[in-house]
C-alpha cells in the first residue's frame, strides 16, 4: 500500500513542530529554515496551512532533471533527490508547479520531501493531526466519514 502525506489545514495551529521534525530528521538540528515542509500563516484571515511535496506520479521535477538525479523510490512512491548526482542546475525548481523543490545554498544541491524513507517525521510530530501519513488511495476517507455522519438516520425501531 502506498501512503501519502495528507494535509488538513483546519487543524493546523502554526506550532512548526513539523518543520523542526523535518530539519532534525535531515540535518540533525532544529532549524525551521531548513525544513522541506513549510507552514504558511495567513495572518489577515487566521489561516495556517502546512505545505510540502505531494509526490506527483508524473513528477515535473523528475522529468526535467538533465542528470537523472531525481528518482522514484518504489517502496514509498517518493521522488528522491540523489545528492551525489545533482549538479545544482535548479531546472527542477522551475519545472515544479508547486514550488516544493528548492535549492540549498550550503550544499549546492536541491532538496525536497522524500517521505523520510516511509515514516515521515513531520506527521509523527504534528500534535493536532493536521499532517497525517495515510493510504494514498483513501485520502478522502476521513472527510467522507465526516459527511456520512451528517446523513445518519437513527437505527430503525419502528
Amino acid at each position: 500500500m502506498q501512503k501519502l502525506l495528507h494535509i488538513n489545514a483546519d487543524k493546523c495551529t502554526g506550532c512548526l513542530q513539523c518543520e523542526m521534525a523535518c530539519s532534525y530528521e535531515n540535518y540533525g538540528t532544529f532549524a525551521t529554515a531548513k525544513s522541506r515542509i513549510k507552514v504558511f500563516d495567513f495572518h489577515t484571515t487566521g489561516k495556517k496551512v502546512p505545505y510540502t511535496c505531494t509526490q506527483c506520479d508524473e513528477a515535473w521535477c523528475l522529468h526535467a532533471c538533465p542528470v537523472e538525479a531525481i528518482t522514484l523510490d518504489k517502496a514509498t512512491g517518493a521522488k528522491v533527490v540523489n545528492e551525489a548526482t545533482c549538479v545544482g542546475c535548479k531546472v527542477c525548481t522551475i519545472a515544479c508547479p508547486f514550488g516544493t523543490i528548492n535549492y540549498v545554498e550550503e550544499t549546492g544541491k536541491v532538496q525536497k520531501c522524500d517521505l523520510c524513507g516511509g515514516d515521515p517525521a513531520c506527521a509523527s510530530a504534528c500534535p493536532t493531526g493536521a499532517i497525517t501519513f495515510i493510504d494514498a488511495n483513501w485520502t478522502g476517507l476521513g472527510k467522507m466519514e465526516q459527511w456520512a455522519n451528517k446523513l445518519g438516520n437513527q437505527p430503525s425501531a419502528t
Binding site: 512548526l16 513542530q17 523542526m20 538540528t29 532544529f30 495572518h43
Partner: protein, 615 residues
C-alpha cells in the same frame, strides 16, 4: 548543552556590535532567558540607575530550550530596569521571534547606551548590524513589521519592535513580536524607545543542534507532550477557550476585580467571556473568535485569533481593523472590561488590537482607566479634563482613551504614566490598584488570599505570572487549597515563585505548569543541557533567581514596606459571592513568607540564605 554559547553586545552610543562568548558558569547557575538575562543585568547595571537614561541596559534573552522541539520552546524574555516601577523588569513573550533569534546562533543580545538617531538591529545568522530606522520611527508595530519584511525582501524575517507608545514614553509600553505576541509588562518597550531602538529584525537559519543527549531528549519531549495532551487544561480547555476560559470561573469564586476593585464580581462577566467570543453575534451572525493559534513549538495553542464586527462603532469607518487579528486573552479582557465595568466585547477586542498595534500593556492601561473612571465618578476628574464622559461601563470612553494613550494626546498622556502617578497627582494614591507601582491583573487578592501575597511580593510589582497560585487556589493544580484561607499560603507562594523562575528561565512557557511540575521539566533539561539539571537543582536555581531579583530591588531602594497592597484590599471587604466579608490577610502572611524565604525582617536574604543559594 543547548545554549548557542554566544551573545551579542550592542553599544548604541558608539554604534558598535560585538560577539562575546556566553559565560557558561552563569548559564549553569541561572539557566537562560529570565534568570541568565537578569544575572547579566544585575552584574552590569547599577540598581539605582535612572531607567530611561543611557546607563540602563536592556537585554533580549532566550533559554536553553528555546528553539528546540520541546513543547512551547519559543519563549524569550526582555530584561531591564523598569521605568514604571523602578524595580527589575522581566517580560516574557512567545510567538516565533525568540526561536528565530536562537536559530541564528545567539543566546541573547545586550543593548547599552543610547543611539543619537533611530536605529534597528538586523541579525541574519552571523551578520549583526545596526541600521537606520528613521523611516520606521512614528510607525506602529504592524507597519514596522510589514515595512521591514518588504525592504529586506524576506517574508520569513521575525521582528520584535515597539510602536508609537514606546517612542512616546508611555510608561508601560510593550515590546511586540509577530504582530500580537508581547513582552508586555513593566515598560520594557519604554526603555527600548528611550534608547532610540525601534526594532530587532532576525533571520536564523543555523538552527539549534547541540543537544547533550539527542536520543534521550526526543524521548523525553515526546513523553511530556503526551502529558500536555492528556491534561484537561492544556489538552482541552486552553486550546478551545484560551486563557479566557477563566472569566466565568474567577467571577464565580468572587475574585474578579470590578470597577477598580470596588466590586469583586462583574455582572457582565459572561458577556466578555470565552463563551461569548465563541457565540455568534446578534449583529452579524458571526463569532468573534476565528481560530486558535500556537506560538513556536507549542502543542497547547491557547492563542486567540479574532475578527471584529465591521459595524461596531469603533471600526465601522476603519476597514484596516476588519481583518483577523490577535484576540482577547483573559488578563486583557479583564483589564479592558471588568476593571472598567465595560461589557462590550467588540470594544474590548478593538482596544486589545490597538494595544498590540502600538505596543502597550493592556493590564496597566485598563487598570489605569479603571482608576480614572473612579476619580471621574468621585468628581475629582471632569469631562472637560478627560475629553469624554468617562463613567464606569463606557465603551466609548475605553476606545477613546486607548487611542489617546498610545498617541500621547490629551489626557492620554496622563493615563500613559500609570495609575500610581496619576492617582497621586490627583490626591488619591490609595486608588491605584498596584504593588510597587505596577497594576494588578485579573484576580482579587481579597477573595484569593495567596495571589494577594504573590502580588505584594512579586519582584516586578503587581503580577500574576511570578507565582500563579490561582492554579492551586482555584483550579486545584497540583493540589487544591482554599482561596479564602491564608494559612499555608506563604509557603505555597514561595514554591510557585521559585518553580516559575526555573520554568521561565528554561525557554519554555509557564502554561505548561498546568500539567507539568519541575519533575517534568528536569528530564528535558537534563537531556538537552546536562545530567546535573535534576528536579532539586532546578528548584534551587529557581530560588536563586528569585533572590537575585530581590537583591537588585533592595539595592534599587525597595524595602519591606514596599511588599504591600493598597488599603482597599486590606480594609474594604468583598461585597458579594463566596468571599463576602474578606480582606487580604497580608500582615498575617508576610512574616511567615519572609521566614520561609530565609530573609530578615527588612526583607533581605540572610547571609545563610545567600550562602545556601551560592549568591
Amino acid at each position: 548543552m543547548s545554549w548557542a554559547g554566544k551573545i551579542l553586545r550592542v553599544d548604541l552610543t558608539s554604534g558598535t556590535v560585538k560577539s562575546e562568548a556566553l559565560k557558561m558558569d552563569w548559564a549553569r547557575a541561572y539557566l537562560g532567558s529570565r534568570g541568565l538575562g537578569t544575572k547579566y543585568l544585575v552584574e552590569e547595571v547599577d540598581a539605582t540607575v535612572d531607567p530611561l537614561s543611557p546607563a540602563n541596559k536592556i537585554i533580549w534573552a532566550t533559554g536553553p530550550l528555546t528553539g528546540t522541539m520541546a513543547s512551547t520552546g519559543g519563549r524569550y524574555t526582555v530584561i531591564t530596569k523598569s521605568p514604571l516601577t523602578g524595580a527589575i523588569a522581566c517580560s516574557n513573550s512567545g510567538g516565533y521571534w525568540g526561536a528565530e533569534f536562537k536559530m541564528a546562533g545567539w543566546d541573547m543580545v545586550i543593548f547599552e547606551g543610547r543611539s543619537a538617531t533611530p536605529v534597528y538591529l538586523y541579525v541574519n545568522d552571523d551578520v549583526a548590524e545596526l541600521r537606520d530606522a528613521s523611516h520606521l520611527w512614528g510607525k506602529s508595530v504592524w507597519e514596522t513589521e510589514e515595512t521591514l519584511k518588504k525592504s529586506l525582501q524576506d517574508p520569513l524575517t521575525r521582528v520584535s519592535s515597539i510602536g508609537k507608545a514606546g517612542e512616546n514614553g508611555v510608561l508601560y509600553a510593550a515590546v511586540v513580536n509577530d504582530l500580537h505576541r508581547a513582552a508586555g509588562r513593566s515598560g520594557v518597550g519604554t526603555v527600548m524607545g528611550s534608547k532610540n531602538l525601534k526594532a530587532i529584525a532576525v533571520r536564523g537559519t543555523k538552527g539549534v543542534g547541540n543537544i547533550h543527549n539527542p536520543k534521550a531528549f526526543m524521548k523525553a519531549i515526546a513523553e511530556k507532550k503526551q502529558i500536555l495532551k492528556d491534561n484537561a487544561v492544556t489538552g482541552a480547555g486552553l486550546p478551545a477557550y484560551g486563557t479566557q476560559v477563566l472569566m466565568n470561573v474567577i467571577n464565580e469564586v468572587g475574585g474578579l476585580p470590578t470597577r477598580n476593585h470596588r466590586d469583586n464580581q462583574f455582572e457582565g462577566a459572561k458577556d466578555i467571556s470565552a463563551e461569548a467570543m465563541a457565540t455568534p453575534r446578534a449583529t452579524d451572525g458571526k463569532k468573534q473568535l476565528v481560530t486558535n493559534q500556537a506560538c513556536f513549538g507549542c502543542t497547547i495553542a491557547c492563542g486567540r485569533i479574532s475578527k471584529m464586527d465591521q459595524g461596531h462603532f469603533t471600526v465601522s469607518n476603519k476597514p484596516q481593523y476588519w481583518n483577523a487579528s490577535g484576540g482577547l486573552e483573559y488578563e486583557a479582557a479583564w483589564a479592558l472590561g471588568a476593571a472598567n465595568g465595560v461589557k462590550d466585547l467588540e470594544a474590548l477586542q478593538y482596544a486589545t488590537m490597538i494595544c498590540n498595534e502600538e505596543g502597550i500593556d493592556p493590564i496597566s492601561f485598563g487598570a489605569t482607566v479603571g482608576a480614572v473612571m473612579e476619580l471621574y465618578d468621585m468628581g475629582v476628574l471632569t469631562k472637560e479634563q478627560l475629553g469624554i464622559d468617562a463613567k464606569f461601563g463606557s465603551a466609548e470612553a475605553l476606545a477613546f482613551f486607548v487611542e489617546e494613550t498610545v498617541n500621547s494626546r490629551g489626557f492620554g498622556k496622563e493615563i500613559g504614566q500609570g495609575s500610581k502617578r496619576l492617582t497621586a497627582k490627583y490626591g488619591h494614591p490609595d486608588l491605584s490598584m498596584s504593588s510597587k507601582g505596577q497594576e494588578f491583573p485579573a484576580y482579587d487578592g481579597r477573595a484569593i488570599q495567596g495571589i494577594g501575597l504573590a502580588y505584594a511580593t512579586s519582584n516586578r510589582g503587581g503580577c500574576h505570572l511570578r507565582g500563579y497560585t490561582i492554579a492551586s487556589e482555584v483550579l486545584g493544580i497540583p493540589v487544591k487549597t482554599d482561596p479564602l484561607e491564608h494559612e499555608g499560603k506563604p509557603e505555597l507562594v514561595k514554591a510557585f515563585q521559585d518553580a516559575t523562575a526555573a520554568f521561565d528561565s528554561s525557554g519554555l512557557c509557564i502554561f505548561t505548569t498546568f500539567a507539568w511540575g519541575l519533575a517534568d521539566l528536569a528530564p528535558q533539561m537534563a537531556a538537552a543541557c546536562g545530567e546535573e539539571f535534576t528536579t532539586e537543582e532546578l528548584e534551587k536555581i529557581g530560588e536563586r533567581i528569585w533572590n537575585m531579583e530581590r537583591e537588585f530591588n533592595n539595592r534599587a531602594g525597595f524595602t519591606a514596606k514596599d511588599d504591600s497592597l493598597p488599603k482597599r484590599l486590606l480594609s474594604e471587604a468583598c461585597k458579594t459571592g463566596p468571599a463576602t466579608g474578606k480582606v487580604n490577610m497580608l500582615a498575617e502572611m508576610m512574616p511567615k513568607y519572609y521566614a520561609a524565604r530565609g530573609w530578615d525582617a527588612e526583607g533581605r536574604p540572610t547571609a545563610e540564605t545567600r550562602e545556601r543559594l551560592s549568591l
